[in-house]
């Protein structure tokens, strides 16, 4: 199940500033081979054991990863947190929607491929399946926002 929250909340259980959270926390954790592969896939970056990276832009450290890549790693490493995905590009969102047991915050729909079998729960309430359910939920949400003049 992917939990999506659509109202922003300030809480210690939420990660709204992904770069900052990653730089101060996630970057200091051990990266598994699966996570190293994600870094390669998103940023085309090679991560060394001492947390340096090599990309087409040159050499750097793990803190030089893209915001989207940092967001993805925040989700993978901290599945208990609600993570803001508003800075993620389509390449990251596509991966996020193949994951399970994660919690994300997005305030608007995004054009992204969602697997037909993906189970999505909005705001701890409505459960929908796949991209059809996702798009239908957002249509209703926008009608609601229009009625409420939001």
């Amino acid at each position: 199940m992917i939990d999506i929250y659509t109202q922003k909340k300030k809480s210690k259980d939420w990660i709204l500033q992904n770069d900052l959270y990653f730089n101060l926390n996630t970057s200091n954790e051990q990266m598994s081979q699966k996570e190293i592969n994600l870094i390669q896939r998103i940023d085309e970056a090679k991560l060394t054991p001492d947390k340096h990276i090599e990309t087409k832009y040159g050499l750097g450290t793990i803190r030089n990863l893209s915001s989207g890549c940092k967001t993805l790693l925040n989700i993978v490493k901290h599945p208990d947190k609600v993570v803001c995905v508003e800075e993620c590009g389509p390449n990251v969102l596509k991966i996020i929607f193949t994951m399970d047991n994660i919690k994300i915050y997005m305030s608007r729909p995004t054009l992204v491929d969602i697997p037909d079998e993906a189970q999505i729960r909005f705001n701890n309430s409505d459960i929908v399946i796949g991209s059809r359910g996702y798009n239908a939920w957002w249509s209703r949400e926008y009608e609601r926002r229009e009625e409420d003049d939001l």
């Binding site: 800075e87 993620c88 390449n91 990251v92």
Partner: protein, 146 residues
């Protein structure tokens, strides 16, 4: 090319219609077609790398109108509202800008804006506003987002 392009009403609309520079081994040629440019596309395409290079470029006389903002900026709202006749670049814009800033961007015509932003709600953008960074043989350009 500072100064430059003006609208029919005589409002100064574009600070730079093109920003080009060498940042070895890369060559940047960024052309702008609207006073608001949103740079989107996939993650990992070099937006923050560009932002960091602009931190040096803005110290040159030619590009001294560039003002940079990201999640590390102190008093972001206060600072951006003081900008006039600037080329404003905002990284992490999806988490930084609220309705107030969107209004400022829409109505402060003396500035030009390049926003690393995906959510264009509430911004007066045109179909020429949406761009992605294209990397080709160490030459980096802004191309229309498909």
């Amino acid at each position: 090319m500072p100064g430059g392009v003006e609208s029919m009403k005589g409002e100064k609309r574009m600070i730079y219609s093109k920003i080009s520079f060498e940042a070895a081994p890369f060559s940047y040629e960024l052309e702008f077609e609207d006073r608001i440019t949103l740079v989107g596309g996939d993650s990992g395409t070099g937006k923050t790398v560009l932002y960091e290079i602009l931190e040096d470029i803005r110290l040159t006389e030619e590009y001294s109108s560039i003002k940079l903002f990201n999640y590390k900026t102190d008093n972001f709202l206060e600072a951006i509202k003081k900008c006039r006749d600037n080329f404003i670049v905002i990284d992490n814009a999806d988490i930084l800008i609220d309705d107030d800033v969107r209004r400022f961007i829409n109505f402060e015509f003396s500035n030009q804006y390049m926003l690393f932003l995906r959510n264009c709600d509430g911004l007066n953008v045109s179909d020429r506003s949406f761009k992605v960074l294209k990397f080709d043989n160490n030459r980096i350009t802004l191309e229309e987002e498909v």
